[in-house]
């Protein structure tokens, strides 16, 4: 694809990149702490991943290989659009394969495949403040983080259990980073939370509209909040992926007709394709093969 002329490599000017890199370094030095940064207006709307895009634009080099996913899939419209943006403004190589990527920008998922130390995850974050829905004021929540005053969060989780028998948070499930800052892992399903814990890959989080950057350095302890008698659990499915037969992956539910018909398929499209290439087949494909 032709590179767009008239703009700097990866769109942002070098001064802006430097400002963002400084925020990133601070974020890595203080894991889980939200660093304010002078987020720029990007040529796509706030809420479309402007935080993640600015982070990616600041760290990407000419030799990087970029993968962009939304809901785990490489072919969702916004993932396509962001990938195209970097192809155009940076002329870099892109991929849909997790193992080929050096930078993976994501919205709402972490790939199923294990990440490596030479990979960086960039998360798009809508509301970086895990305490925001308990306390709307930034002046208050900053104080609460400073004083490590997280009682309110534990009370919320406890009330969930007493009212519903479950912790009623299923995505953007709060974690404690290195036993200090409580952090919003972005709206990934809690299924993905364990993947952040002691991950060899660096995890960077960018919130453009809210103007915050935070990070989890490699091999950092990340604990999903829970209670001794109500330990953290991830989602499970009774079904296997209809296409590749996987049982341990996060499944999307696809409605196939208006008579209650549905099937479950891997949300991570690359993971699913790899398994099919390796000869695995789920019920839908097996049935087709039999015909």
């Amino acid at each position: 694809m032709a590179e767009t002329s008239g703009y700097n490599f990866a769109y942002l000017d070098e001064q802006t990149k430097r400002m963002i890199r400084r925020a990133l370094l601070k974020a890595i030095a203080v894991p889980g702490y939200q660093v304010p940064f002078a987020s720029r207006e990007m040529p796509m709307p706030y809420g479309w991943g402007t935080g993640g895009i600015q982070v990616t634009a600041s760290i990407v080099g000419r030799d990087d290989v970029l993968k962009v996913i939304d809901q785990g899939a490489d072919d969702t419209t916004n993932a396509v659009s962001i990938r195209k943006f970097f192809k155009r403004t940076a002329g870099i190589e892109t991929t849909t394969q997790t193992h080929e990527a050096t930078i993976i920008q994501t919205r709402h998922r972490i790939p199923e495949e294990d990440l490596r130390a030479d990979q960086i995850m960039v998360f798009q974050v809508p509301i970086p403040e895990p305490l925001r829905f308990l306390e709307p004021r930034e002046t208050e929540t900053r104080k609460m983080h400073a004083l490590e005053e997280y009682g309110l969060m534990h009370v919320k989780l406890y009330e969930d259990i007493s009212q519903h028998g479950h912790i009623a948070t299923t995505y953007a499930y709060p974690v404690a980073v290195k036993q200090r800052y409580v952090m919003d892992p972005s709206p990934i399903p809690k299924f993905d939370n364990p993947k952040i814990n002691r991950s060899p890959a660096l995890m960077l989080f960018g919130a453009g509209r809210e103007k915050r950057i935070y990070a989890v350095p490699p091999f950092t302890d990340v604990h999903s909040l829970d209670f001794e008698d109500f330990p953290f659990e991830i989602q499970t499915w009774r079904e296997a992926c209809a296409l590749c037969g996987a049982t341990g992956s996060f499944l999307d539910e696809i409605v196939t007709d208006d008579a209650g018909g549905r099937m479950f398929v891997c949300s991570d499209t690359d993971f699913c394709e790899k398994r099919r290439e390796a000869g695995h087949a789920g019920p839908a494909l097996a049935a087709e093969g039999a015909v």
Binding site: R40, P43, G47, A73, D75, V80, S81, E138, G165, H166
Partner: protein
Amino acid sequence: MYVPVKGGERAIENAHKLLAEERRGNRDTPDLDVAQIDEQLALAVDRVMTEGSLYDRELAALAIKQARGDLIEAAFLLRAFRTTLARFGYSIPIDTGQMVVRRRISATYKDLPGGQVLGPTFDYTHRLIDFSLLEGADPENLEEGESDMGVTPHVLNILDREGLMEPANGSSGAQERGEDGEVHVGDLTREPLEFPADRDIRLQRLARGDEGFLLALGYSTQRGYGRNHPFAGELRLGEVRVGFVPEELGFEIEIAEITVTECEMVNQFKGSKNVSPQFTRGYGLTFGHCERKAMSMALVDRALRAKELDEEVEAPGQDEEFVLAHADNVEATGFVEHLKLPHYVDFQSELELVRRMRAEIEAAKVRNGDAEQIEAAE
């Protein structure tokens, strides 16, 4: 077999082509000229320049054309362009006291130095649809009159002389000064908004803020949610010079003449423990001719000074975090509209939980039912 929904590049490309087609509309109708938008939809251009924070009439008009008349979208286009521009430095503050006034009214004095100048205003027009415009009728030509207007002093300075009005930089008269003794003015576009914000940052945020949002908030203060007894001390529209000192020259040069609307509200203040009763100010300034916005901004600015003036903060309009966090329409529209993006992973997570909780309740019901039956049998 089910084929996963390939959102894909082609769908996006086709959508963009369709959008371009719709923007153009019926090709039998002449294409809209950017100059026409600039000249004849001038107030739309003014609003887009103000909320887009960029004074460029042609670009704003072009943005309106590209955005099919969606003014928030146009402001967004302008902002996204503006952020890529190099910064050469900061201009010298404009002096609205030196404004070449086209319109200037005060609701607090019947007459005053410089006079009341109505200028181009919708006020006092009867809102009857003018069907002659359908035929493209031109208004009568105006004779060029003699302007006898010199420099028009600010109304609020008249009160100031009596000590009835607080100084322009706040009741305390104090301003943040750096080590060099210079007044430091923040730059919202270069530093993230942090709370509590000083008035310079607040005013910048309000100036970029959505007209409708500020209008509603200003209105709410009039209706008792943080009432601050406002009078339109002065509203002025006209041209001011923009001066700039390039480092390599070392002296001021004029780089532009821009149109601005300025509103200074006069608000009652009963005084507090430390300050005797005097009038206080609310300030509004916009690019171009945006009276509604300038007045709303002045009302909200004054309401946001509640804490500084030892007033109780009890209404939305006085709540700094509430107002400043939500005033920007480019941010707001992005986050509201992002709900259109796929959320099926999160939704799946919720589905799974709701199904599980419902199943547990059903199971409990069945168990209780069994227990009752056994009891009945016994």
